[in-house]
């Protein structure tokens, strides 16, 4: 009845090693089906002429068009403009908000933190509908306010630049609180002793903000910056629902153009090429930001 001593130890390590993989299998299966396969397939698609069935291999068809397509460059330009203008403004607001949130002078902190985070909880469709109403030229409350203080009313949704500004305002409203909450967590990890020491040395509030808060926040700022960059490159909701990418294509972004090509024109090959260009741009930007902002930390 004595068990064979040799067999058990030989088998058990293999089984034991297999167990974690067994548990991971469902994830990897889903990952393969819903991530790896679409990513690989759309790469293949980007080299197919999908204009007419049967789809045929044509290396240059989509990528060649992409380079010359002024509508694509317009969408890229709009996206970049939003990135360069809106993201820094939003993060500046978010930083100030985070400082306010953690200030001892502020009462009802919980309420304010929630209030500024709340836009994110709201569904994108009702929020967009409300913004359409606010920015309505004739009946919108914004123009009502502008004319009330003697300013001219603006055709927010039917002129190019105001439409782009509308999108930026809407995005700022929606995402500032979210970023502020992330920055707040970074703020709270800065040791209070640093501020006390600076105070004793006679540093003013402004000096403390620029010489302690901002440098100490750099990793978190970088994190929000990278997230916002990727988010902006994927921008879809606001231009699609508030301005319907108009007037004309004044608020067309890379992803709305992708959608239009993919699901309106049913040109999957070209849509895939656009998708890959978005991914490439996102990767380059993330690398650049980490190099530029994150690198400095290492140098010190």
């Amino acid at each position: 009845m004595t068990p064979e001593p040799a067999a058990a130890p030989r088998r058990r390590p293999w089984r034991r090693r297999a167990t974690p993989y067994l548990f991971l299998t469902p994830f990897f299966a889903l990952f393969a089906i819903f991530w790896v396969y679409p990513i690989a397939y759309s790469f293949v698609l980007s080299f197919l002429n999908t204009r007419q069935r049967p789809w045929t291999l044509d290396w240059d068809f989509n990528w060649g068009r992409l380079v010359q397509d002024e509508y694509f460059w317009n969408a890229l330009g709009n996206t970049m403009l939003i990135l360069v203008v809106q993201v820094p403004i939003m993060l500046a607001f978010a930083t100030l908000l985070a400082v306010a949130f953690s200030s001892d002078l502020l009462r009802f902190k919980g309420f304010f933190r929630f209030a500024f985070f709340a836009p994110l909880v709201l569904g994108a469709v009702p929020y967009s509908a409300v913004f359409r109403l606010i920015f309505n030229e004739q009946y919108g409350v914004l123009n009502y306010g502008l004319t009330a203080i003697g300013l001219p009313s603006v055709s927010w949704l039917y002129e190019s630049t105001p439409a782009l500004v509308t999108i930026m305002i809407a995005m700022t409203w929606r995402w500032t609180g979210y970023n502020a909450v992330i920055l707040l967590s970074g703020l709270q990890s800065i040791p209070a002793t640093l501020y006390e020491a600076a105070k004793i040395d006679g540093a003013t509030g402004v000096q403390r903000f620029f010489l302690i808060t901002i440098p100490m926040l750099r990793p978190v700022l970088l994190f929000t910056f990278v997230l916002s960059t990727i988010g902006t490159l994927q921008l879809f909701t606001e231009p699609w629902l508030i301005t319907t990418t108009g007037p004309g294509n004044a608020t067309e972004t890379l992803v709305t153009y992708l959608y239009q090509q993919g699901f309106r024109s049913f040109n999957f090959g070209y849509a895939s090429a656009i998708a890959y260009s978005v991914a490439i741009i996102a990767a380059i930007f993330s690398l650049l930001q980490i190099r530029l902002v994150g690198g400095r930390e290492v140098e010190r």
């Binding site: 319907t244 294509n249 309106r264």
Partner: protein, 420 residues
Amino acid sequence: MHRVALTLLALLTATAVSAQTLTAWVWDINKPALESTIESFQEMHPGVDVVVEDLGNQNVYDRGLAGCAAGGLDMPDIYLVENNEAEVFWSQFPDCFVDLTTLGADELRPAFPDFKWAELTVGDAIHAVPYDSGPTAIFYRRDLYEQAGVDPADIETWADFIDAGAQMNTAFDGNVKMGAIGKGADDEWFRMLANQAGCFYFDQAATEITITQPGCVQAMETMKNVWDASVLHPAGWSEQIQFLQNDAQASSFFGSWYSGTLIANMPEDQAGEWGVYLTPALEEGGVRASNLGGSALAIPASSDHPDLAYDFITNALADEENQLEILFEYGLTPSLLSLQGDPALEQGVEFFGGQAIWEDILGTLGDVPAVAGTQYFQEAREVMIVTVNDYLDGEYASAEAALEAAADQIAASTGLPIAD
């Protein structure tokens, strides 16, 4: 255990009952219009429910394409498709919809005009049954016109329309505009005017891009003249309804189906204040007709009840009584040939001040130049929305320059050549 079995049985019967439900995807006024035919359908098929869902125009198209791409997943039993867009489906997904000849649609051929079938058939196969058509007209507010001293009978050309608009601007200090245009949101004005001039994105056989032709140039120039005269609000679909509801817009230029939209959306006190006059001509004595939109009903191949769905469609679309009700109650212009010359059309419509608008509007059907949709309709449209907007903003030196740029863009995306 017994209870569990009973519950299961109840659930099973519930699914069996709901299996006798037909769903339809439509937009706007088509929902109540088709719902009005359910009762007569149920006389033939008692116990069969029909659920008509209003998804909005663009969503029906988008979800339909996505559903077909997914092999017919999540598709309804009855699908409303715009004639213009129909060929995208037939060419990209030849198997997504039932060939209705297998259900007896051959018999329907003589009941509808040929131009309505053109976009719905591929070879011998019929993919959808003609529903409404969209002969255009100007819908106007009698009271506002009167206050401004404008007589619609004097408006024969677009130049007259501009003059009337100037009068309107003076009378109301610019607060009430003569009309509205979906500037940067749609290119419907271009399509209506181009159609009037016998021009379209593509030629009849859809082998060439034809927007650089003289008719389209004339359409663009006319549109810019109207826009530059400051007689139009820039307004998308919903804004336009807001303007109309708030007495800030005196007329609307659309396909005849817009009458249904007006009846459904205007406040009660506007009933009887509306009227209709024919589309102004591009030049003295020119054509006063064009077409915008028009749709058809198809049956997705994934439907479990194609026979029932087909019966519903023929009952709604090929039955004179139902079509007359849809016309008078919901303002959708029938394509059914047997209704032409029907004495019922001489009937006045209360909402339009008792005017017999259908006699007038349907009278123009014969003058409408025929156009083809083609599978590239959507991308040409996207390009033209941008081009029209930029042209109205003065970004092009001439209509020709704008249309040439648009033609290049459409050629790049479709691979079709530009006609000389």
